[in-house]
Structure formats: C-alpha cells, structure tokens
C-alpha cells in the first residue's frame, strides 16, 4: 500500500493507516448510502423531495440526524440486563468492521492479504446474529425477543444459500483469496476475447442472483425485514434502544449494506480492476501504480451500483410472511445454488 508514496512507513504506522482506512471504508459508504438512497432515492420514488433544508439539497441532513441522536438520553429499561443490553450494538458493528478487513481496493491497497479471505468474510458476517440475539433478549421486551428470534432464524436460513452461491465463484477462480479472485476475473477471457475480462456475473449469473437475494435477507432489508416489521413488532430487537446505541444499530445496518456491496462487486463484478488486456498487463505485479488511486474509485462506483439494486428492491416490494420467507430459502434458493455448484464443477473439470 505504501509503495506508491515512495516513503518507508514503519510497521506500526502502516497498521495505524490501515485501521484508519478501514474506518473510512466502513463509514463513508454507510453515509453515502443513507443520503443518496434512503433520503433522496426513496423520496423521488415516492414523488417528494426528501430533506432540502440542511445544506445544499439536504446534504447535511445526515450530520443533523447524527447530532440529534448523540444528544438523546441513553435509556436502559429498568428490567433489562443492562450490561448485555449495552454490549449488543457494539457486537453488531464489530462484525462489520471485521468484514472490511479482507476487501481489496487496489493492487497494493488492501488491509490484509488473507489466504482464505472470502471464508473469513462469511464467518465474521455471522457474528452479527449474536449481537442481534443479545439485543433481543436483554431488552426484557416481548417484541424485542420475537424480533431477535425472527432475525436469528432468517439469518441462519439465508447464510446457507449465500455460502453456497459463493462456492461457485471459488470453484471458478480456484482460490478463496479476494485479491486473487479479482485478478482471475480481470486477467481472464471469454472465448478468447479478453476485452471484458471474465466478470463472474456472466458465468455465475445464477450464483449472483442467489447471492444478491441472500444478502438482501442478511441485511434484513425489505422484503426480508420480518425482524423489524414495524406493523407487528414495533421495531423488533431495536425497540428499546435510543440515542447513540440506536445510532450504532443504524450505522451497522447501512455500513453492512455497503461492505456486502463491496464484497459482491469483488466476487462478481471484477472488483477494483479493469480488464488487464486494456493496458497489456499480465499479472498483478505488472499493474500500474495509479491503479491504487483509481481502484478505490472503481470499487466505490460498483458498490453504489450494487447498493442501488439492494435499495431499489427494498423500496419496491412488500414484506414476506415468516413461513414464505423460510420456505423460499430452504426450498428454492438452496436447491438452485446446489445445482449451480454441480454445474460449475462439471464445467471446471471438462473445460
């Protein structure tokens, strides 16, 4: 990461820069998604303007909202299990910060070059369930508990198709390292034509669709927002939270949406790279240094594209019923992704 600056940074300095970069890479997409999609796109889809007062076109609305939440009192219900109640939002946000650690942003701009990167991402993303269950239980509120249990059931059910959809990509790329997956897509070719690389969204289209549906459910965005269904459960496991602990849940929700969009764009859309054939690059060492600057921009663009799809679906469809949701995961998504794995391995061996 530091080679492009042509200065030697000591190890602790590199680590500090990586931590700061990780915080930016989590919070910046979260804020962007909230403003562009939640405030503006939803309003336009509903024929209204959305926030317009704070800053030009309401762009400072988010600052106002955060300020409002920070001022509010941090209330813990009297009968609640206070320590676990306070810990729960932090566990949820922690899993998001752990998740960003494996996302590569350029040939040298990565946080960790992890051999089993995507496996790690799938493992730590399941930690958020723990935080949600803790929040639901410790609130001492029946609505919260029901919301937490619904969330756990849903997240367990949809984790499976997500993992299975990723396996298709792993088979095709022959690696679990996210950086290597990016390189495999950009240095590949389709039927001898290398002008587009080989983005797996084409060869693994079934996997991409299953993965997008599964992350929609993992993020508990509508139509999979049973756990916080406001017409039935007030707001599920978040019911008792106020002030900055609610803010942490809120940031966690959209930051995870951003990070999952980044991972989806790495797995299926070619990540930070442009097809290597454009500039005559052969492998990652020959990639020009300026990709460390352009790569993050490409990544953010692709992330916005994927997040746009997630939010578009969120604002368009009504909520699933609990039994439909479970049946859809177990009887449709899992068989489809298993068939996808079988087909992919056959092609991998034959071709």
């Amino acid at each position: 990461m530091m080679s492009m600056l042509a200065v030697e940074v000591p190890y602790w300095g590199q680590s500090l820069l990586r931590v700061l970069g990780g915080i930016v890479a989590v919070l910046l997409p979260a804020g962007t998604i909230v403003y562009v999609f939640l405030f503006k796109m939803m309003s336009f889809m509903q024929s209204r303007l959305g926030p317009m007062e704070a800053g030009p076109y309401g762009s400072l609305q988010l600052v106002a909202e955060v300020g409002k939440w920070l001022q509010k009192e941090d209330i813990v219900p009297e009968r609640a299990d206070a320590r676990i109640f306070k810990m729960a939002p932090i566990v949820v946000l922690l899993s998001t910060f752990l998740l960003i650690a494996v996302v590569p942003f350029g040939p040298d701009a990565w946080f960790t070059d992890f051999e089993v990167g995507i496996f790690y991402a799938l493992a730590v993303s399941s930690l958020s369930v723990l935080g949600i269950l803790m929040a639901g239980w410790s609130s001492a509120n029946k609505y919260s508990l029901l919301g937490g249990l619904r969330a756990a059931g849903q997240l367990i059910a949809y984790e499976l198709p997500m993992v299975l959809a990723v396996i298709g990509v792993i088979i095709q790329a022959g690696t679990m390292n996210l950086q290597q997956i990016v390189i495999a897509q950009n240095s590949g070719s389709m039927f001898g034509f290398s002008g587009l690389g080989n983005p797996y969204v084409i060869t693994q289209f079934v996997g991409f669709v299953v993965f997008m549906i599964a992350i929609q459910a993992e993020l508990t965005q509508a139509p999979f927002d049973m756990p916080i269904a406001e017409s039935e459960l007030v707001s599920g496991y978040m019911t008792e939270y106020s002030g900055f602990r609610f803010l942490i849940f809120f940031i966690g929700e959209f930051a995870t949406a951003g990070v999952f969009s980044l991972i989806a764009s790495v797995l299926f859309l070619g990540g930070w790279g442009v097809p290597f054939a454009w500039f005559g690059w052969t492998d990652v060492d020959s990639v020009a240094n300026w990709m460390n600057i352009v790569g993050p921009i490409i990544m953010i663009t692709k992330m916005m594209l994927v997040a746009f799809i997630i939010m578009w679906v969120r604002f368009s469809y009504p909520r699933f019923r609990e039994d439909q949701l479970q049946r859809f995961a177990w009887k449709v998504l899992i068989p489809v992704s298993l068939a996808n794995i079988a087909l992919t391995s056959i092609f991998k061996v034959v071709m």
Binding site: L127, M134, A152
Partner: protein
Amino acid sequence: MFAADLLVAQNIGFAVIALVMIVGALRVVTTSNVVHAALWLVVVLSGAAAQYILLAAEFVAITQVLVYIGAVMVLFLFGTMLTRARIGAERDLNNNYWRLGIPVAGVLFAAMTIAVVSSFGDEQLPDEPRVIGVQEISDQIVGPYLLPFWALSFVLLGAIIGAIVLARKD
C-alpha cells in the same frame, strides 16, 4: 536468559488469551443465568480461535468461528431464548450431580495431556511458522484421510436424519 526466551510475542499472546479463556470457562459453569453462560462460552470459543491463529492455522481458526460461534452458539442461544431464558439470576440451574463434573474434567485433561505429549513430545514449532494453505489441507482430506472424512460425513448424515425423525410428529 530464561525469561528472555519466554517473553516472545507469541507466548505473551498465548498467556493473555489463555487467561481470558480460563476465566470465561469458569464463568460458564458458575454464572447463574443460562444466557450469560452461553455468552461466556462464546468468549471461550473465540479464545480457541485466537489460539489457532497464533499457531498459524488460519483455516481451522475461521472454521472455529463459522461453526462454533456463528452456528452452534447461535442455535444454543436461539433454543434457550425460545424456551426458558429469564433475565436475572436463577437459583435452580445446578443439579445435584455438578460435583461429578470435576473428576470428569480431570480425566479429560489427563487424557488430552497424555495424547499431546506422547504424539509430539519435545518437538518444537518452527521459528518461522508457515501458514498451511487450503489446498494442502484439502489434498490431505481427500487423500490419506478420505476414509475418516467419509465416516464423519455419515455421522453427520445420521444426525440430520435423526433430527428429522424427532421433529416430524405426523
């Protein structure tokens, strides 16, 4: 000189994590609330994952997180919260057989110590730990260890069928 040999980063890390794990394990059995016990168990299991990382066994560590914390503990918590998890202390958590656990734990510890000492003895980890790649692990699993792998798969298949039989009332 002796102290200088011991005070390497790995040993300090091991000691800190081991301490956290011991405290966590004791709290699992002494706490008076089912959910707290389960959450302390999460601490112990994540400590085990951290120890695997210290041993440069990344894949095992992540499998530990995915299987034990992400799945087993979530199901634990899910089950207890669905049935009987009250907030606050419960008095009737321990039954009269709790003392039996002490000799069982002692015997298990002895068995594991003997197994580790007899199979590794004085062997030392290499100074430059090498991260074992996933491909090497899979070569081993579908190579020399294929039969145990199949046997384990059949155990899991049996467990799945058993669960379906138990769950189906009709």
